[in-house]
């Protein structure tokens, strides 16, 4: 079900990760993603696994909850795995018609799958432990230097935070409209590609209309509460680095050292 999308959702518990400064978490997520591409063998991935497992534990978010978010990328995952599996040249170990699997392909596919899964889980740890408002604040502050060259940093980050807030609402709405059209005999499953695309119209039109209506309403509500851009705004939760943030950056440094170190180890 579409309800299962967990990317972008906040999981309200109190944990070390929840209390970290969003900038620390943003940086950590970016660093983790880079590390996934730096890892060149099993040891690198092992290090990433340990790091990720530690982060999951520290977040206090149930593991099952996080894994559910993977369903959303299942298709992408299968696609990239099969591309790597069948299209990599190398020592052939299996052949069926024009399909062939090589050892290199197997390795690439495996790493690709791990990389994708870790990427999604890693980023969802950030969103699960950071409220969209904090995330916005973090982005706004980290990218604040762009304001000088005319990038509307505050507006962009506000936009993102609102988008995140409305994801679950629109997902639920999609579910409802879908059921309502099914009650009018709609069929979203059968038929060819064109047929399927056509059958989406009764779903997408109401969804867009609803999104626009909500946007208008929200804009009015925000203005009524004196929102007038980033100028002159104060913060309820201003960002301040605490001791734990500095310690976390230290952990990052060690982790990156390990990841780079593993590149020199022999392994598959």
């Amino acid at each position: 079900m579409i309800r299962d999308i967990t990317i972008g959702q906040y999981y309200p518990v109190d944990s070390v990760l929840h209390r970290l400064d969003p900038r620390t978490k943003l940086f950590g997520t970016m660093m983790f993603i880079i590390s996934l591409f730096l890892a060149s063998n099993i040891w690198g991935y092992l290090a990433a696994t340990v790091f990720l497992a530690a982060a999951i534990r520290a977040s206090k978010v149930p593991f099952g909850f996080m894994v559910r978010g993977l369903k959303a990328i299942l298709f992408l995952l299968l696609l990239s795995v099969s591309f790597n599996l069948f299209l990599t040249d190398g020592r052939e170990i299996f052949r069926l018609g024009f399909l062939r699997i090589t050892i290199e392909g197997l390795r690439m596919a495996g790493f690709m799958a791990v990389r994708l899964i870790y990427l999604v889980v890693g980023s969802s740890i950030m969103t699960l432990t950071t409220t969209p408002n904090q995330l916005t604040d973090g982005l706004e502050k980290s990218l604040g230097f762009l304001k000088k060259v005319g990038v509307p940093v505050h507006e962009i980050s506000m936009m993102m935070s609102i988008a995140l807030r409305f994801i679950p609402i629109l997902v639920e709405e999609t579910d409802k409209i879908m059921k309502a059209q099914m009650a009018r005999g709609a069929d979203f499953e059968s038929g060819g590609l064109i047929q399927k695309a056509k059958s989406m119209v009764p779903l997408l039109v109401p969804l867009f209309i609803s999104a626009f209506r909500r946007a208008t309403d929200l804009a009015m509500a925000m203005e009524a509460r004196c929102y007038h851009g980033g100028e002159g705004r104060t913060k309820m939760k201003p960002l301040r680095y605490a001791g734990r943030d500095y310690r976390t950056y230290l952990v990052y440094a060690f982790y990156m050292a390990v990841i780079i170190g593993t590149r020199f180890l022999p392994g598959i």
């Binding site: 309200p12 203005e223 509460r225 007038h228 705004r233 309820m236």
Partner: protein, 287 residues
């Protein structure tokens, strides 16, 4: 002059075609004058399209008059330099609870207004704490708004408005999308803010039971005020209310029907207790 005053207010919704020519003019408010005393609880009734929502939006300058003037706390809403000051003093709560909550955590949403008007961080926290307490939502402060019931969401919206320390709150059909329990929660909260904090309340509603609790009831039709008085005065005119396609609470209707049949009851009965008080002696005498 009261906290809110409108004088010969006219508002037109103007629809234009692609060449900016006027295609259609829809007069939503038609020469309306009203004066609201500070601290009163006013209920505004009227069917859809009677202009009551348009009036609400005039009060904090979301819309400004086509003709005539609206003053809020002595400030003319057409004066653009005063717009933020006016919005600070008059909070608005809208119908759809989902479309007015901005943040993903209750307390952050309540802090949104004070942040916008540049309140120092420490004061924001004080205001958020006080506002959450005032609407009884302190226990939910770390929750996601999506996990709350409709009535709770509206209370968060009210807290968000309260954190701006307004003098007046305008609620545009805040209970229309709620179930009976949610409706009761919201109205109880609004009443408490009115009685305890002295906030002026303008409540736009379809539910007559809610209007019964107000100090003053205004009925709108066709962009004009057609009835204006205390709930007792208004609800004693059952036929007139029905002519504006409005309802009356069942008790009021029953009392009215009995009076019409010649039973000696006082006019404008609003509550079950009032009805019983007058009816029981009559019945006891008869049985």
């Amino acid at each position: 002059m009261g906290i809110i005053k409108a004088s010969r207010l006219i508002f037109d919704y103007i629809r234009r075609d692609e060449e900016e020519n006027i295609e259609e003019i829809d007069r939503a408010i038609d020469g309306l004058s009203v004066d609201v005393e500070k601290g009163t609880f006013v209920a505004i009734l009227g069917h859809n399209g009677s202009g009551k929502s348009t009036l609400a939006k005039q009060i904090n300058g979301i819309l400004t008059p086509t003709e005539g003037t609206v003053w809020v706390c002595g400030m003319d809403t057409s004066d653009e330099s005063k717009i933020w000051e006016i919005r600070k003093r008059t909070g608005m709560v809208f119908q759809n609870p989902d479309n007015q909550i901005i943040a993903n955590v209750v307390e952050e949403d309540v802090g949104f207004g004070p942040e916008n008007i540049g309140v120092p961080t420490e004061d924001i926290w004080t205001r958020v704490n006080e506002s959450l307490e005032a609407v009884g939502m302190t226990a939910y402060r770390y929750k996601s708004p999506n996990k709350l019931s409709g009535g709770q969401k509206q209370r968060v919206a009210i807290a968000g408005v309260m954190a701006m320390r307004p003098e007046c709150i305008v609620l545009d059909e805040p209970t229309a999308m709620l179930d009976p329990n949610g409706r009761r929660e919201v109205i109880r909260t609004v009443r408490k803010l009115n009685r305890q904090e002295g906030i002026t309340v303008l409540l736009i509603t379809h539910y007559m039971e809610e209007a019964v609790q107000a100090d003053r009831v205004i009925v709108m039709d066709d962009g004009k005020i057609v009835m204006d008085g205390t709930p007792r005065e208004i609800f004693s005119r059952v036929d007139e209310l029905k002519s504006y396609r409005l309802d009356v609470p069942q008790v009021t209707e029953l009392a009215y029907e009995l009076r019409k049949a010649g039973v000696n009851l006082p006019e404008g009965i609003l509550s079950q207790e009032e009805l019983l008080e007058s009816l029981v002696p009559l019945l006891q005498a008869a049985v």
